[in-house]
Amino acid sequence: MTGRKVGIIGAGAVGATAAYSLSMMGTCKEIILFDIAEGVAQGKAIDIGQSTHYAAQPTVITAAQTPADVKDCDIVVITAGVPRKGDMTRADLLLINAKIIKSVITDVMKYSPNAIIICVSNPLDVMTYVIGRITGWERRRIIGMAGALDGSRMAYQIYKKLGYGSGQTGALVIGDHGQNMIPLPQKVKVGLIPTTDVLTDEDFEDIIERTKNGGAEIVKHLGTSGYYGPGRAIAFMVEAILDDTQSVVSSSVLLEGEYGYSDVTVGVPIVLGANGIEEIIEMTLNTKTREKFKVSVESIREGIEILEENGFFDS
């Protein structure tokens, strides 16, 4: 991994913010943006490129004219997909985005065959599974970004309760990247103190609820999804891989017997490094958390099942 080249497919707010965050940190040598909407990737690449004048380290930002230009990347971040609209069923959304992902991934396999893929498209866990099935690559190279964001949202909620310890709070959310996600605020610490010493059961319930609704709360105010949190979370994962930091971060990954499940992608703590998933950490879960984890896994399996029933994987 000498080129430190990152491709970002989908230059919407999330993709562009990830690119901006990476540029300001100077993590990559080169970032290439691609978007199907004409001009979007070009315009943002120029804007971000000009901002790098004040960055600590230089980064080259370019826009791809065609998917073929996103070539020889060390990491490809996939943010492509459509948001759910009013009249869409869950199945509709799944099928539409799975088809988009399939077309995007076919190009990635052709032009960046050695990349590690970070999936950001929703529904996150199912799309990560789709990428795994289509590529047939080793599971270590396919990682869904979920816990990095949900964990940062949980840490934020803990800070809001305490009024201190910003940036010092552990982030630990497992399960799916949706309504059945499992924030674990009781397990983490603020600086050196366990949260259980400074928060009540009521606080924890509130933190869990607010973390789960973290995305929806922003939509309510903004009318559209958040992108600073997701953009920075993606950048954190890219840094971990390019710098081989061996950092622990919850991510959606294909289980092969861990936590008692196989052939499903779900959020668990992993060690992230140059090889992608370096290790999957199996935490001891209490009975209640195990039950919640089961619900999470089942909700993801239902999504996969919808794709199976519609013959998505047949070709």
């Binding site: 009024g163 366990p194 199996e282």
Partner: protein
């Protein structure tokens, strides 16, 4: 807008110099004043660091103090002065020698930088923090000792050596005095939120605790001439940053206890919230019986040294 921040570092040995260098490299404050015994040497180091700041494209200016008056208007004063521990020497051996040095500087700070937050790193740490508090006469939140951050960093490193991942994400907890009776709390340790119990067995954790306790001595023995200063200096600047940036973050620091954890009028390491005013809040953790006993032993060992100073009439000039 408020004026640029100023930090005075007393002592220009490896420890003090490295503290000043980190501050200059990070641009944490606009002015760093170095106060050393030899003005030329101090000025040489200050020039070297100011030039390094330019190479790093930072705005920090490092100057050598001609006298104590150059400490004026410091936001933070770091006291690193004192004789270092040499092989075979216990922390206690240093007691009287260093207490006199800290007393002298504390009086100067009281006179010339009466609004500063004082960070003490001279050893034996807890007692020196006690001495600095008494002789500055400052409220306890403005006189803090650096210990728990360093001890926790050492513990985190030894945990990393076992795990080989999670570097920089390991949150270890060490309380109590900065000495042989420090109280590492492995049960409170997590790696990015994952409890250490899920990652290491009790034998491995026991070994880590032992290594942490011995962390300083291990480096003293290896160096042969002097003690560690990279991790101590970085740990010190963590405190300085937290004060200057008013971060309201939680760190383990030595502070005068006032009915905290059941003790008063003695300094020990406990979690505090650090902001612009120093330790703005002491946080009480729930300790188990064994931890309570270990903390007691730690407090008592500091009390013994304070008692020794009393017996030698060290504090008599306070009256």
């Amino acid at each position: 807008m408020a004026k640029g921040k100023k930090v005075t570092v007393i002592g220009t040995g490896n420890f003090g110099s490295t503290v000043a260098f980190i501050l200059a490299m990070n641009g944490t404050c606009h002015n760093v004043v170095l106060r050393g015994r030899n003005y030329d040497v101090t000025k040489g180091k200050a020039l070297d660091m100011s030039q390094a700041a330019n190479a790093a494209r930072q705005h920090t200016i490092v100057k050598a103090a001609k006298g104590p008056e150059d400490m004026a208007e410091s936001d933070v004063v770091v006291i690193t002065a004192g004789a270092p521990r040499t092989p075979g020497m216990s922390r206690d051996d240093l007691l009287v020698m260093n207490a006199d040095i800290v007393k002298m500087y504390a009086k100067e700070i009281k006179e010339y930088a009466p609004d500063a937050v004082v960070v003490v790193v001279s050893n034996p740490l807890d007692v020196m923090t006690y001495v600095a508090l008494k002789y500055t006469g400052f409220p306890r939140e403005r006189v803090l000792g650096m210990a728990g951050i360093l001890d926790a960093a050492r513990m985190a490193h030894f945990i990393y050596e076992k795990l080989e991942y999670g570097a920089g994400q390991i949150r270890a907890t060490v309380m109590g005095g900065h000495g042989d009776t420090m109280v590492p709390l492995p049960k409170f340790t997590t790696v990015a939120g994952v409890p250490i119990d899920d990652l290491l067995d009790s034998e491995e954790i026991g070994e880590i605790v032992k290594k942490t306790r011995n962390g300083g001595a291990q480096i003293v023995n290896l160096l042969g001439d002097g003690s560690a200063y990279y991790a101590p200096a970085k740990s010190t600047t963590v405190m300085v940053d937290a004060i200057l940036k008013d971060t309201n973050q939680i760190h383990s620091c030595a502070i005068m206890l006032k009915n905290d954890y059941g003790y008063s009028d003695i300094v020990s390491g406990v979690p505090v919230m650090i902001g612009a005013g120093g330790a703005e809040q002491v946080i009480e953790m729930t300790l188990k019986n064994l931890q309570v006993r270990k903390f007691k032993a730690s407090v008592e060992s500091v009390q013994e040294m304070v008692d020794t100073l009393h017996e030698l009439k060290f504090f008599d000039d306070l009256k």
